[in-house]
């Protein structure tokens, strides 16, 4: 209709934003739980398990996020699992997040001084308690800046769901832009919304990093 950017358009973008935020939260929580398991398996003494996880991480780091999305999206359909679009993209982003968070936390676990493990062993703590009470709390603290930094990557990454037609913020922007024929304005607004979402997290991540640098 070409009536310009008004309240209905803005509200539509907000619905898209809601899905962007939900998708990011689901992938971050799901990817966080799975990523913790990946990190633990990757740092375990079991050579085979550790090697398998290295390959898992390597595959996600070595392929485009868009392809991970496509393969999961079309792969699920192929094996007869017909999920709504949001569930399929949520699974893809969760898997991807588990690999990236797994790698971040692997680095953090290995950054915990060896003396900590030795001291815990001297106290004859079992493996589970050593991990839960000694190593992981320290490792997750070390990993805080990188974890928040990854959350920014994840939020930006969810925009790719637009390419398979899921209406999150970027896709909502495309739709509005096609309706009112003002692509430059609409994508500037969409970009600003992403910026308002991501920038505070980036600043927070940088502040955490500065604080850790002082603590060290």
């Amino acid at each position: 209709m070409g009536h310009g950017f008004g309240a209905p358009e803005f509200l539509f973008l907000m619905t898209g934003l809601k899905w962007t935020v939900l998708l990011s939260i689901v992938a971050f929580v799901g990817g966080g739980v799975a990523g913790l398991l990946v990190a633990i398996a990757r740092t375990s003494k079991n050579r085979l398990l550790s090697r398998l996880m290295a390959i898992y991480i390597g595959v996600f780091q070595g392929t485009p996020l868009l392809m991970q999305l496509f393969v999961v999206y079309y792969g699920l359909g192929l094996v007869g699992i017909h999920l709504p679009a949001w569930a399929a993209v949520a699974i893809a982003f969760t898997l991807s997040a588990s690999a990236f968070l797994g790698e971040i936390w692997r680095g953090a676990i290995q950054a915990v001084p060896r003396g900590q493990t030795e001291a815990a062993m001297a106290l004859s703590l079992p493996y589970s308690s050593r991990l839960r009470d000694v190593i992981l709390p320290q490792a997750l603290r070390i990993a805080q800046p990188a974890t928040v930094g990854y959350l920014v990557q994840l939020i930006k990454g969810t925009s790719l769901a637009a390419i398979v037609g899921f209406v999150e913020l970027a896709r909502a922007g495309q739709i509005v832009s096609n309706q009112i024929f003002e692509p430059i304005l609409v994508f500037a607004i969409v970009g600003s919304i992403y910026f308002l979402l991501c920038w505070p997290l980036s600043l927070y991540s940088a502040r955490l990093e500065a604080r850790h640098a002082i603590a060290r």
Partner: protein, 222 residues
């Protein structure tokens, strides 16, 4: 019953896909070249005496790093023609990749420059090295050594990111695959195949960069 997979059809398109791989590498290479130019220029403007230049550089870095590449490329795709630049999609994609990579390159190169202490030049002078030797051996080489891993990692990232340029139909692997998909309706097979191709490309690049690093940046044994 059950899924039917047919990779045979995809194999018929192998030459087309391999050309797509070259398109992807070309796109990433051109984008990286532009990113390096922006990176070096940005290090200078970020440290400029003129406040407006410093603010503009930092704003550019923050805007690029906190918005999705997909939105950036859409914006450019529509904004560049408004500036009178009627470019084909592949050139638009190179500019988008260059701007995106450039924002990250500024920070990487800045880190490399800051890693060089003034004392190194003084030490070189004290050892009686010539100016050219000082620059080559104890300024340039250590700086390059410091930024090489991040910069080559950035290049691999850019190669993977370039798949998003298919959304403006630039010539690269993903858009080639999309055309094959619409011809054959073999979505999974096509995308699975090119996923392996991307994996192979990043693995080859990673290995190649590691070999170069060992050749040029290894500390000598004595």
């Amino acid at each position: 019953m059950g899924p039917t997979l047919d990779f045979g059809i995809v194999l018929d398109y192998l030459p087309t896909l391999l050309w797509g791989c070259l398109g992807t590498l070309g796109l990433a290479l051109a984008g990286m070249a532009l990113a390096l130019i922006i990176g070096i220029g940005g290090v200078v403007t970020r440290a400029s005496h003129i406040k407006a230049l410093r603010v503009a550089t930092i704003s550019f870095i923050e805007i690029i790093r906190n918005t999705p590449f997909l939105v950036q490329i859409f914006f450019l795709y529509f904004a560049l023609p408004q500036l009178g630049l009627k470019l084909n999609p592949t050139v638009t994609a190179i500019i988008a990749l260059g701007l995106n990579g450039g924002a990250y390159a500024i920070e990487i190169i800045r880190g490399g420059v800051q890693s060089i202490h003034k004392g190194q030049t003084e030490a070189g002078l004290a050892l009686g090295l010539r100016k050219a030797q000082i620059f080559r051996l104890i300024i340039l080489k250590p700086a390059l050594r410091a930024i090489y891993p991040s910069l080559t990692g950035q290049f691999i990232m850019l190669t993977l990111t370039s798949s998003i340029c298919s959304s403006v139909s630039a010539y690269e692997l993903t858009s080639v695959a999309q055309r094959i998909e619409s011809d054959t309706f073999r979505s999974f097979e096509v995308y699975f195949t090119i996923t392996l191709m991307y994996l192979a490309m990043s693995w080859i690049l990673m290995t190649g960069f590691a070999v170069v690093s060992r050749q040029y940046f290894a500390y000598s044994a004595r």
